[in-house]
């Protein structure tokens, strides 16, 4: 390492490159500072301008999203999105990825993912009330898959269970496209009062800045081969690359923060997530238009001799930064000390507009804050939206000769098989407001607003094979499916969060997937008035040039205004009639049938007619509120057949499906046409439900009956409910044993 006359490292082009900064970016830094940065300053620019913090590849495309609406209190740009659910209640929620750390160390990676997303939510003043997760693993046969599933599930449970927030639902898929890059996306939903939401903008001059939570260690410092002269010889070994979560401290942090938030002591608050102290202090200062001065000697440190560089870039977990109202310092100390947390006053707001860091009585950083945010790269990467795969005609898709076998294979395939082995490891009932969860296999979880008769419905969804086949239609579909899932339980869909997981954006076809998916998603958001209020982007999910299937996971939240009128897929009774709403063409392109039975992954995905979707969904919600239906389930993977089976499992009652009319049987039973719902209704409701549907221009038809202990389809399958359930429940425990 070259050194200057003061024996300090000189910033060489190699060091700049190791920090992931381009020559052009470094030129901007030189220009704004009017001098060479020191190593601390370089580190700070590097993390602030990283993909993770600056969204440099996606920002201009994310800007297209619908982000406003009647019920939106806060859209993207804060720690989480905030929506109004009436009566002074606000729901605060976000989904975030923790993909790479979970692949390296599945237990801690997943656990800290859950911890991080919870902090995003309670930072804003909300008590977390529900967790969800969307997981993607490699193919079951891959040697790493089993241990990854084991670790990730244990990590999610280990963290969420301890903190005492119910994990109420999620989805888990397996595909070879994730062999080298699993996806762990965690979502948290919290409850606050609309008049007590906290934001990150620092305000005022000379106000004290508090550090609260765990001590700072050398966790997750990405400084590459950063051999700064200020490091000890053995400092490389001292830097664990894996961050370890401490749910015990998180729980104390939640209680302490909420206790202090009930007073007027906090002006602004921000959790220290990725890039820790750097991004939290800069975001607070930038949003508030103030400067910040920190004395790093005051930062609670876990290890001796930590350098400013290490402290600013550490990703140690369970830490918060806040600006405290002058005069309320003692109150803050008292609350945090009661909860046995480390707390220190480490600095103050200033009027300089600069970030100034002091360490051992020396100034070790002095940079203007505005350029860090304003000049952050905003790339217009070349992209090429892939064309949709060609439509496959139903006549080109072989019809199975053995429907019993086809049904069993589909119901027990890894994507459809029961995930009981997973969700039984999550506490779903703590807080005693879980009305419905993974336990029922339903479309959306239902979590009551404590002490009231209303509830939020929460769901996560995406069908990566559709997005792969056609990013635009697939993007529309993932938003539409969450809207449909919320509708199925009788909720008014309000808003979404998203987690956009893609490969390397430097490749135009990957960038095209991202842009296409965003445009499709946005089209659906606008059609349903269903804005995006928070989210994150995870790029570079690829190994040896092999990108993951494009996976824009969507988390939807809706409101059930009155818990005397809701529905689930459990409730079908002996003698009920099954009605199918929505148009069926027998679409098998990119379907589970095509993949599992014929081993073909091809064909255009089913298109989503957003107008028909809205019409049908609004009608379903109305029927639920009129109590016209006993059970509701939407049609998705595996089509009518699988939907009927899932309804049968939930209600523990048989189903018999009628013959297909005018559509080849395999398309009728397994086709994945969108915008469809299966309803179980009392005999006397059949005519009114169908005739009103027709008046509204919605296709509605009787497709079968509820009853007995078998699952049958005329001309197709005939199997026992119990036998099929064993196949459905059996795959995952057997795989994991």
């Amino acid at each position: 390492m070259p050194r200057n006359s003061k024996n300090k490292p000189v910033i060489t082009p190699e060091i700049v490159a190791e920090h992931g900064l381009s020559e052009g970016e470094y030129e901007i830094i030189l220009d704004r500072l009017g001098r060479e940065p020191n190593i601390n300053e370089l580190g700070i620019f590097s993390v602030m301008w990283s993909e993770h913090c600056s969204y440099k590849s996606s920002r201009r495309h994310l800007a297209k999203f619908l982000t406003k609406g009647d019920k939106v209190i806060q859209g993207p740009g804060e720690n989480a999105g905030v929506i109004d659910i009436g009566d002074g209640d606000a729901i605060i929620f976000k989904m975030e990825s923790h993909n790479h750390p979970s692949y390296i160390e599945p237990y801690q990676g997943a656990a800290t993912g859950v911890g991080g997303i919870m902090r995003d939510v309670f930072t804003m003043g909300a008590r977390p009330i529900a967790l969800m997760n969307a997981l993607r693993f490699g193919e079951p046969d891959h040697p790493k898959t089993k241990s990854l599933v084991n670790g990730v599930v244990a990590g999610i449970g280990g963290y969420g269970n301890c903190v005492g927030v119910p994990t109420v639902g999620g989805e888990t898929n397996f595909h070879k496209g994730y062999n080298g890059n699993i996806l762990v996306n965690a979502m948290c939903v919290g409850l606050a009062r609309t008049d007590n939401v906290f934001y990150s903008a620092a305000k005022g001059i000379g106000n004290p800045i508090f550090y609260v939570g765990s001590k700072t260690g050398r966790d997750g410092i990405h400084g590459a081969t950063m051999a700064s002269a200020e490091f000890d010889d053995d400092s490389e070994e001292k830097r664990p690359t894996v961050q370890v979560g401490d749910p015990f401290t998180e729980k104390l942090l939640i209680e302490a923060c909420l206790e202090l938030m009930a007073t007027d002591a906090i002006i602004a608050i921000q959790d220290m997530g990725a890039a820790g102290l750097t991004s939290s202090s800069i975001e607070m200062a930038d949003k508030g238009g103030v400067g910040i001065e920190l004395n790093l000697d005051k930062v609670p440190q876990r290890e001796p001799n930590m350098t400013p560089y290490e402290m600013m870039l550490s990703e140690s977990q369970e830490r918060m930064l806040m600006v405290i109202q002058p005069g309320k310092e003692q109150m803050a100390f008292d609350v945090f000390e009661k909860w046995e947390l480390d707390v220190a006053q480490i600095g103050k707001t200033t009027d300089t507009g600069r970030l100034v860091l002091k360490h051992q009585r020396k100034k070790v950083c002095d940079i203007p804050i505005a350029p860090l945010a304003d000049d952050a790269p905003n790339l217009d990467r070349p992209y090429e939206i892939p064309k949709s795969l060609p439509v496959i005609s139903l006549s080109d898709i072989h019809e199975t000769q053995d429907y019993d076998d086809a049904l069993v294979r589909i119901i027990s395939n890894p994507d459809i098989a029961s995930k009981r082995w997973i969700w039984e490891q999550y506490d779903r009932t703590v807080m005693t407001d879980t009305v419905d969860s993974s336990q029922s296999g339903g479309d959306a979880a239902i979590v009551r607003i404590h002490g009231s008769n209303k509830a939020v419905a929460i769901t996560t969804d995406v069908t990566p094979r559709y997005v792969q086949a056609d990013p635009y239609e697939g993007g529309k579909q993932c938003v539409a499916e969450t809207w449909r899932n919320l509708t199925c339980v009788g909720a008014d869909p309000i808003a979404i969060t998203d987690c956009l997981n893609f490969g390397n954006p430097e490749r135009p076809e990957i960038m095209g997937q991202l842009v296409g998916a965003i445009e499709g998603m946005n089209e659906a958001c606008r059609a349903f008035d269903y804005p995006v209020v928070s989210g994150n982007v995870s790029l570079y999910n690829e190994t040896n040039g092999q990108a993951i299937p494009p996976t824009p996971a969507v988390g939807g939240v809706g409101l059930i205004p009155d818990l005397t009128h809701f529905a689930t897929l459990n409730g079908a009774k002996e003698g009920d009639t099954l009605i199918l709403l929505g148009e069926t063409t027998g679409w098998l392109g990119s379907s589970i049938y095509l993949r599992e039975i014929l081993r073909r992954e091809e064909g255009a995905p089913p298109p989503v007619d957003l107008e028909a979707e809205k019409r049908t969904g609004d009608y379903v919600r109305k029927l639920i509120r009129m109590r016209r239906v006993n059970a509701v389930h939407d049609l998705s993977d595996g089509g009518l057949a699988i939907t009927a089976c899932e309804m049968a499992f939930a209600g523990n009652i048989g189903m018999s499906l009628n013959a297909s009319v005018g559509i080849p049987l395999h398309g009728w039973l397994f086709g994945e046409d969108q915008g469809r719902y299966l309803l179980a209704v009392d005999e006397h409701s059949v005519n009114p439900v169908i005739s009103t549907a027709k008046d509204k221009g919605i296709i509605a038809q009787v497709v079968g009956k509820v009853g007995g202990d078998r699952i049958t389809a005329v001309g197709g399958f005939d199997v026992t409910l119990q036998g099929l359930r064993e196949k459905h429940e059996g795959w995952l425990p057997e795989f994991m044993s």
Partner: protein, 220 residues
């Protein structure tokens, strides 16, 4: 009727317990912080709630059992004060020596959360009298360390004294003799791994837990 719920760092069913007590007694429960050295005056019934006190570090319930408030609870329980511990609360009661045995890692080694069928083994305790001749209930379980262990002599003594109050129907965790809940010799201290406080609401987990609270409250 005055009830108290003890709050340790990382208790997480404290609110649930308080909601249950208020629903049954009509009065708010006192929330008592673990650093207090005495219970508030006039407390008739104490619940030690579930959760992960002290992160379950060292052993589940070990550190909570040594906290200042538990000292006072032990003294008063030995004088007859009714005390119930659910889940982590049960672990704390065994660690504090108010109930015999210990709760070990589930034999399946995994955390398990599910609605669990239980058999009432003794309908004549202060915690089960209101069940009448009901012999089966369902409470949610949610734990990692629920595997009840005691030596044979202790187990025989428990059985002989009618102190095995609930047993699992389908053992989820490897507990000796399917034991889910026990009481002390005097019958005032009771602990169980399942969560009766999560079974007091038809929209959430059913209502089988109500009679457990009614039994003890009405016995006071």
């Amino acid at each position: 009727m005055k009830t108290a719920v003890i709050v340790f760092p990382a208790s997480n069913c404290d609110r649930d317990a308080a909601v249950a007590l208020e629903k049954i007694t009509g009065h708010k429960a006192e929330m008592v912080w673990h650093r207090e050295t005495t219970l508030p005056a006039g407390i008739d019934f104490v619940v030690i709630p579930g959760g992960f006190s002290y992160g379950d570090y060292l052993r589940s319930g070990a550190m909570a059992a040594r906290s200042p408030i538990v000292k006072d609870i032990v003294t008063k329980a030995n004088l007859g004060l009714p005390v119930a511990g659910f889940c982590n609360g049960f672990q704390i009661l065994t660690e504090a020596g108010l109930l015999p045995g210990a709760l070990m890692r589930n034999t399946g080694l995994k955390y398990v959360c599910r609605p669990q069928k239980l058999k009432i083994s003794n309908n004549n305790t202060r915690y089960t009298s209101k069940y009448g001749n009901v012999s089966e209930v369902t409470f949610p379980i949610a734990h990692h360390d629920g595997n009840y262990f005691a030596d044979d002599e202790t187990l025989n003594k428990l059985e002989k004294g009618g102190r095995v109050v609930f047993r699992y129907d389908g053992n989820p965790n490897g507990s000796a003799r399917d034991i889910a809940g026990i009481c002390n010799e005097a019958g005032n201290v009771f602990g169980m791994m399942p969560h009766p406080e999560r079974a007091i609401d038809p929209l959430h987990g059913g209502t089988d837990g109500i009679n457990l609270f009614k039994s003890i409250i009405e016995s006071i």
